[in-house]
C-alpha cells in the first residue's frame, strides 16, 4: 500500500512531464491500434472464410474465365455439396472513386453457401423473382444511401455498357466482422446480356465457389476438381476460400508489411521517449534513492518504485489510447467507406496494445532501476543541495 502510494505520488511530481508522457503514450498506442486494425481489415476476407468453401479458378490467371458448363461437372464430384458461379463485374457507380465489390452470382446456390449474409425472406424472394434485381450489403447501402426499390446504374469496365439494377434486398452480417459492402446480382442476367452484346464472351465464369460436405476433405476434393479438368483447354486451380483470399492480400503484402513495421516503429519511438523520462526522473532522485538505501531499503524496493512508476504512466497512457481506439476506428472506418469492408478493432489488437504498454513500461525502467539499485549511498547523498 505504501509502495503504491509512493509510486503514484512520484508519478505526479512533475505533472506537466507526466501529462506529456501520458499523451505521447496515448497517441502511440492509438496509432498502433489503428494501424493493426488496418492490417486486420486487409485480412478480413481471409478471416471470414469458411473452411468448407473452396474456390475454383483458372490455373492460368484469375483474369482467365472458365466455361460455365464446369458447374455441373464440379457438382458431380464426390464430396461436393453445392456449386455457384461468380463473376467479378468491376462496374463504376457514378465516378471511379466510388469503389465497391460487385459480383454476378448463381443467386440461389451462392447465397445458400453464405449463411452469414442475413436477408429478410420477403426481400430474398423479391430478388430471386427480379432478373435485374440486386442484393446490397448494409454498409454499402448506408454509404451511398441505397434503399430497396432504388435503381443503381453501373458503368461496366469488363462488360461494357451501362447496366441498371434494382435494389431488391439489403443484407446484414451475422457478426460485425461480416463484409456488408458487396453488391450481388444475377449471373443469368449478366450472361443473357453478354450473349446479345458480345456472344463470344457468353457462358463464362470467373470463379466457382464450391461447398463441400466435409471440410476435412477440402484438399482431397480440390485435387479431384483440378484432376477433372487436367489436360483440358481450361485447367483449374482449386483452393480453400481462405487461401484464395490470402492470395489477394499477398499481392499487396509489401504494403501490409510496411504498415506493420510503422506500427512497431511508433512503439519503439515512445519507448525511447519513456526511457528518457524515466532516466531523467531517476537521475533527479538519486539522493532519495541513496537515502532510502541508507535507511535499509534494498535494491528491490528501489526497483519496484521505478518499475511501478514507469508501468503506472505507461498503463494510464495506454488505457486511454485503447479506449480511444474504438471511437477513432469507428470514425476512420466510416470515412473509408467501402474501401475497408470490415474495420473493427479486434480483441487481439487490444491485447497487443496492452502488451506494448507493459513492454514499454518495463523496458523504459530497466536501466534507471539498475542504476538506482547500484548507486553507492555516499555518491547518491552528494547529489543533495
Amino acid at each position: 500500500m505504501h509502495l503504491l502510494k509512493l509510486i503514484l505520488r512520484n508519478a505526479l511530481r512533475h505533472k506537466l512531464r507526466t501529462l506529456l508522457t501520458v499523451l505521447g503514450l496515448l497517441v502511440a498506442i492509438l496509432s498502433f491500434g489503428l494501424l493493426q486494425t488496418v492490417v486486420d481489415a486487409w485480412y478480413s476476407g481471409a478471416a471470414a472464410a469458411a473452411p468448407d468453401r473452396l474456390v475454383t479458378r483458372s490455373s492460368v490467371s484469375l483474369m482467365v474465365p472458365l466455361p460455365a458448363h464446369y458447374r455441373d461437372k464440379i457438382r458431380a464430384i464426390d464430396g461436393v455439396r453445392a456449386v455457384a458461379a461468380a463473376n467479378w463485374f468491376a462496374g463504376i457507380y457514378q465516378e471511379p472513386k466510388n469503389f465497391f465489390p460487385q459480383f454476378a452470382i448463381d443467386a440461389v446456390s451462392y447465397l445458400a453457401m453464405y449463411p452469414e449474409y442475413r436477408i429478410p425472406d420477403d426481400q430474398l424472394r423479391a430478388f430471386l423473382r427480379d432478373r435485374k434485381g440486386a442484393v446490397v450489403g448494409r454498409k454499402l447501402a448506408q454509404t451511398y444511401g441505397f434503399k430497396v426499390g432504388d435503381v443503381v446504374p453501373l458503368r461496366g469496365t469488363i462488360f461494357p455498357g451501362t447496366w441498371e439494377f434494382v435494389v431488391r434486398a439489403i443484407y446484414d452480417g451475422a457478426t460485425p466482422r461480416t463484409d456488408t459492402s458487396q453488391f450481388f446480382f444475377h449471373w443469368d442476367y449478366l450472361n443473357e446480356s453478354v450473349r446479345t452484346r458480345a456472344p463470344q464472351r457468353a457462358n463464362q465464369v470467373g470463379v466457382f465457389v464450391v461447398r463441400v460436405n466435409d471440410a476435412g476433405r477440402a484438399a482431397e476434393i480440390s485435387a479431384a476438381i483440378d484432376a477433372e479438368f487436367g489436360n483440358s483447354a481450361a485447367e483449374t486451380l482449386t483452393e480453400t476460400e481462405q487461401a484464395f483470399q490470402i492470395g489477394f492480400v499477398k499481392q499487396t503484402e509489401a504494403i501490409v508489411i510496411a504498415i506493420r513495421i510503422v506500427s512497431f516503429v511508433v512503439i519503439f519511438i515512445i519507448l525511447a521517449v519513456m526511457a528518457n523520462t524515466m532516466a531523467m526522473t531517476a537521475r533527479e532522485r538519486r539522493a532519495e534513492y541513496a537515502t532510502l538505501k541508507a535507511l535499509g531499503f534494498g535494491p528491490g524496493f528501489l526497483g519496484s518504485l521505478i518499475f511501478g512508476e514507469s508501468l503506472a504512466i505507461a498503463l494510464i497512457g495506454s488505457a486511454l489510447g485503447v479506449a480511444l481506439t474504438f471511437p477513432v476506428a469507428h470514425w476512420f472506418g466510416a470515412k473509408m467507406g467501402t474501401l475497408f469492408p470490415v474495420f473493427a478493432v479486434s480483441a487481439s489488437t487490444v491485447w497487443l496494445q496492452a502488451a506494448c504498454a507493459v513492454v514499454v513500461g518495463v523496458a523504459a525502467a530497466v536501466i534507471p532501476a539498475l542504476r538506482a539499485a547500484r548507486v553507492r549511498i555516499v555518491d547518491g547523498l552528494r547529489a543533495v543541495g
Binding site: H2, K5, L6, R9, N10, R13, A287, E288, T291, L292, K293, A294, L295, G296, F297, G298, R376, I377, V378, L381, V384, G385
Partner: protein, 227 residues
C-alpha cells in the same frame, strides 16, 4: 553476538578514493573508541576525512582495511543485504539537507523506516505520534516537507532517525543549512536524544559552537586524528 563496552571500536582504519586514475588517501590508520552513550563531535577542515569516517561508522561506505566494530558487530564482514538490515535496526541518520521524501508527509516520512519492521499500522502510528511529539511537531503530521521550515524539516529527520530506536545516531553537519536559532533548537534536541534516550551520537561539524553541545570532540587533519 559479542557485547562491547564501546559503541564503536576503530582500529587501523584506512580509506582512499580513486579520482581520475589517482588514489587519494582520505583516512590513514585511524584508531579510537567511542563509548556507549557518548556524544562525539568530529571536527576538522574540509577534506580532513570526517564525513568519510562517519559514513564508515554508519555502514554506508566500506574501509580499505582495518577493523570497525559497531555495537559489537564487525560491520565490514557483512554483505550488502546484511549491512542494510543492520543499518535499519542500529543506525539513525540525520543529514545536512534533511533528505526527507518530498512526496510524503511528516508522518509518512517518520513512518518510513518502520515499514521495514513487522509492526502493525496501529503500532506504527503510536510510534510516529510519540516521535513527532518528542521533537515538537505533533501538530505538523500532515504537512509535506515543502510546507515546513528548515528547522522543522530537520526535526522531522531527527524523529525519523530515532523511530526504530537505534543505538547510534549519526549526524552529518545537521545544522549546516539552518539559521542560528533553528540550529540551536536542533542541537538542543540532539543533545536531549543523547541525555534522555541514551543514544550514542556521532556528529560531523566544522562549527565550534555546535561542537560545544557534544560531550567529546575528535579532530581530524588530513586523514589523521589530531588529538
Amino acid at each position: 553476538m559479542p557485547q562491547s563496552a564501546s559503541a564503536v571500536v576503530i582500529r587501523h582504519l584506512t580509506k582512499s578514493y580513486r579520482r581520475g586514475g589517482q588514489v587519494v588517501p582520505v583516512l590513514n590508520d585511524i584508531s579510537f573508541d567511542i563509548a556507549t552513550g557518548d556524544f562525539v563531535a568530529l571536527m576538522g577542515p574540509s577534506g580532513s576525512g570526517k564525513s568519510t569516517l562517519l559514513n564508515l561508522i554508519a555502514g554506508i561506505d566500506r574501509p580499505d582495511s582495518g577493523e570497525l566494530r559497531v555495537g559489537g558487530v564487525d560491520i565490514n564482514g557483512l554483505d550488502e543485504a546484511e549491512l542494510a538490515d543492520w543499518r535499519s535496526r542500529n543506525v539513525g541518520f540525520i543529514f545536512q539537507f534533511y533528505n526527507l521524501m518530498p512526496v510524503l508527509t511528516a508522518f509518512e516520512n517518520v513512518e518510513l523506516p518502520l515499514l521495514l519492521t513487522g509492526l502493525s499500522a496501529r503500532e506504527r502510528r503510536e510510534h510516529v505520534d510519540m516521535a513527532l511529539t518528542m521533537v515538537g511537531l505533533a501538530d505538523r503530521i500532515t504537512h509535506y516537507p515543502s510546507e515546513l521550515s528548515g528547522g522543522q524539516q530537520q526535526r522531522v529527520a531527527i524523529a525519523r532517525a530515532i523511530i526504530t530506536d537505534p543505538a547510534i545516531l549519526v549526524a552529518d553537519e545537521p545544522t549546516g543549512d539552518l539559521d542560528r536559532a533553528a540550529a540551536e533548537d536542533v542541537l538542543v534536541l540532539i543533545e536531549r536524544m543523547n541525555r534522555e534516550l541514551g543514544k550514542t551520537i556521532i556528529m560531523v561539524t566544522h562549527d565550534p559552537h555546535s561542537a560545544q553541545h557534544a560531550r567529546s570532540v575528535k579532530h581530524l587533519e588530513k586523514g589523521l586524528l589530531a588529538d
